[in-house]
């Protein structure tokens, strides 16, 4: 029996009777991070990193949850579980599972770039590496974060000098805080959508974000002129957006690599800024584990695992999961 199996509920450890990021209700579940396709409602008991506790409580309401520190071992029926930084969003973890000397790692979602917000990804030696590959195509190659934010800053500054409001869409958990943390706040006032505002307040850790104001759609629109509004992508077509006057829109996402994705969403501008690993970083991550077996869970799984088999000689396969990745237009928090 493998240490971890994929069943209809999620990724399961039979020896410990524990699930990882289950997509159906289960008695006991280790949760890698707070995005809704990984942290689902209704499990009996949640185990997650301490930073993630206020986040999932904010999103899922009251729950029974046990918090772990980085590297802290949780022993269940002889199986050692521990959490290690995944660098995806605040509180996101990889799960290391060890039993009788065999080690498996499940990444959840991750990136190798240091975003200045969360604790950077830590490579872990293992026998089997269960990895996401949302951007597992050679067409994806991220620029250094600094360059992307230089672009964002100059876009905002230009808009501001033209008295145009800058609307920047990014997922409310992770991307929004990363934008706030790294944008040049000296350019002008920053407003955030309520979903983001509430999340920022709910996070206990001090991320040292610049000053931001809750966007009140009833406020005088001249106040917003030239400001930066950070909002989740789902509100792009909301009625209040048309009422805020002269504006220009942009999205920050790995999918903005494709011109087609941006044009389809009728955005003015796309910034390629992702909380996932790009092609080279996925390969780097796989190689750093020293693993013999790779299981790709979501993203361009067939392509990525074929490459690992044929070009790197690894035993790589794919398993179906309910984690979102293939679509660009998803309002889910996957990019």
């Amino acid at each position: 029996m493998p240490l971890l199996v994929f069943n209809k509920n999620g990724i399961y450890c039979p020896q410990a009777d524990v699930y990882l990021d289950a997509w159906r209700k289960v008695p006991k579940c280790i949760v890698t991070h707070g995005h809704s396709d990984h942290a689902r409602y209704g499990h009996g008991q949640y185990i997650t990193h301490k930073t993630n506790i206020p986040i999932i409580k904010h999103r899922l309401g009251k729950l029974q949850v046990q918090g772990l520190d980085w590297n802290e071992t949780l022993l269940v029926n002889g199986v050692k579980f521990s959490l290690h930084p995944a660098g995806h969003i605040p509180g996101s973890a990889q799960v290391r599972v060890e039993y009788k000397g065999e080690v498996w790692v499940f990444t959840g979602d991750y990136k190798l770039q240091d975003d200045g917000l969360c604790i950077p990804f830590e490579p872990i030696k293992c026998n089997t590496f269960i990895t996401e590959c949302t951007f597992g195509l050679p067409a994806f190659s991220w620029e250094p974060q600094e360059e992307v934010f230089n672009e964002i800053d100059s876009w905002w500054a230009t808009n501001r000098s033209d008295d145009v409001t800058s609307l920047l869409f990014g997922y409310s958990l992770g991307k929004a805080q990363r934008i706030l943390k790294n944008v040049n706040a000296d350019i002008g006032p920053i407003y955030v959508h309520k979903t983001i505002y509430d999340l920022n307040k709910a996070m206990s850790e001090d991320f040292d974000l610049p000053e931001f104001t809750l966007l009140d759609t009833s406020m005088d629109k001249s106040e917003l002129k030239g400001s930066l509004i950070v909002a989740p992508p789902g509100v792009q077509n909301a009625a209040w957006i048309r009422k805020i006057g002269a504006q220009t829109t942009a999205a920050a996402s790995g999918w903005m690599t494709f011109r087609g994705a941006r044009r389809r969403r009728a955005l003015d501008k796309g910034f390629v800024l992702s909380d996932h690993a790009d092609w080279q970083d996925l390969l780097t991550a796989v190689k750093a584990t020293g693993c013999e077996q790779v299981i790709a869970t979501h993203g361009y799984t067939e392509i990525f695992s074929r490459y690992l088999r044929e070009e790197l000689g690894l035993d790589a396969k794919t398993e179906a999961t309910a984690y979102e990745a293939e679509t660009i237009d998803q309002t889910q928090e996957t990019a």
Partner: protein
Amino acid sequence: MKAFAQLIKALDSTNKTNQKVEALANYFKTAADSDKVWTIALLSHRRPKRPVNTTLLRLWATELANIPAWIFEESYHIVGDLAETIALVLPHPKGSTEMSLTEVVNEIAALGSQTEDVRKSTILERWDQFNYYERFVYNKIITGGFRIGVSQKLMTRALGQATGIDTDELAFKLMGNWDPKTISFEELIIAPSEAAAVSRPYPFFLAHAVEGEVEQLGDISQYSFEHKWDGIRAQLIFRAGTHFVWSRGEELVTDKYPEFDKLLDLIPEGTVLDGEIVCFPDGQIGDFNLLQTRIGRKNISKKLLETHPVILIAYDLLEWQGQDLRSTPFIQRRELLDKLVKKIGRGTPLYLSSTMHFKNWKEATAERERSREKRSEGLMIKRKDSHYGVGRKRGEWYKWKVDPFTIDAVLTYAMRGHGRRANLFTDYTFALWHEGALVTFAKAYSGLTDAELKEVDSWIKKNTLERFGPVRSVVPQHVFEIAFEGIAASKRHKSGVATRFPRIHRWRKDKKPDQANSLEDLKALIP
């Protein structure tokens, strides 16, 4: 090249027409003259001859990117644009270059006569000097098809803003047969040029579709009616002892239609006709598929001229005795045209699109019902006092097409789309029942809303049966009503039927696959 790539990036960075016009106008004010000419040429789909085929480009890109060929192809299917895919997979550039757009284009043009080794080393060297946008633009120039959301009209506006020249005049100047290699910006745009004017067609005036009830167009006595012929829109120009045939895509196609050569002796100089080229075998208007045969051929054989002859159904006179008639009212132009065509008489490939007048909309509607027997697509409605404008203007000309044929078919295959539909399964194949099996009859790409596309896309991803490269076969479950304009028997199609302009009319969620139509139902529609 840097400035041009920067321009393309700026055009790409906004959805707002005014900002695009401004970015272009700024470029036209500051760029070098030869770069301006090439920019106009590229944005109006004129480009140097392709020096290498895309197979080689793909091969070289995979070599430089150090990736296997299959993963490049997979990436291409997902990205949906070859120039973009190559620009994305190449490693970051090691150098840079200050070459101008003109230098780059001239280099590409000269590559055609070089050995493959030289072509390869040149292209690889440029790739390694260009940033992402420069590469993208470079690949677009090589592979052709510079579609980046800049219409000819938008470019003309920008040129007008930059030069102060009237946009109608500019539209006229930009049409026709000019060569960016030899013409200067001064000659093309600034100077009034007579030599070039000889070949130039007028910008085509286009009709709006009738929206809502036709009665809303008001007093019927203001309008003249004609049938709407389904061929290629064309202008026949007779000037300075020679003639030109222009198709609406601004293509000079004189050589493709030698039938019109004999008109040169019959029509006086200084005449421009507007009309529809249609295939006309056995003394009647043929199906559009017959015309397709002529459009596709480069060499027009004697036999083809016999089996697939064409005529021009003229419906407007834009120039007469060397005078531009476009601001003369439509009915006066038609009087002159009718007289001209009747005088030339029978036995020529010049026919007249007869005008009709109706007392009330009921009569007009009844005539529209007869469109299919008359082999037309419906009616054209033109204001009697209308001028011949530029582009599409509201309130002058209308097209009032007959309702399309429709049939319910089952979705059987899907392929990822291109451009703004990249990475979404948006290109569908539909099938009809025949002896208990589904037989493919048409492909359709349009007609669904963005929300429906997303829904179908996500369903396809979950209901794939098999994958063949970019194509997936799917569970035969969904029924769509497919609309099309024309239908004819065809030996080239597996189903034995060719449909014209098939598109999705609506998603029949109320129907199960076994309630879809049969191939026999479709064949019953063939006239």
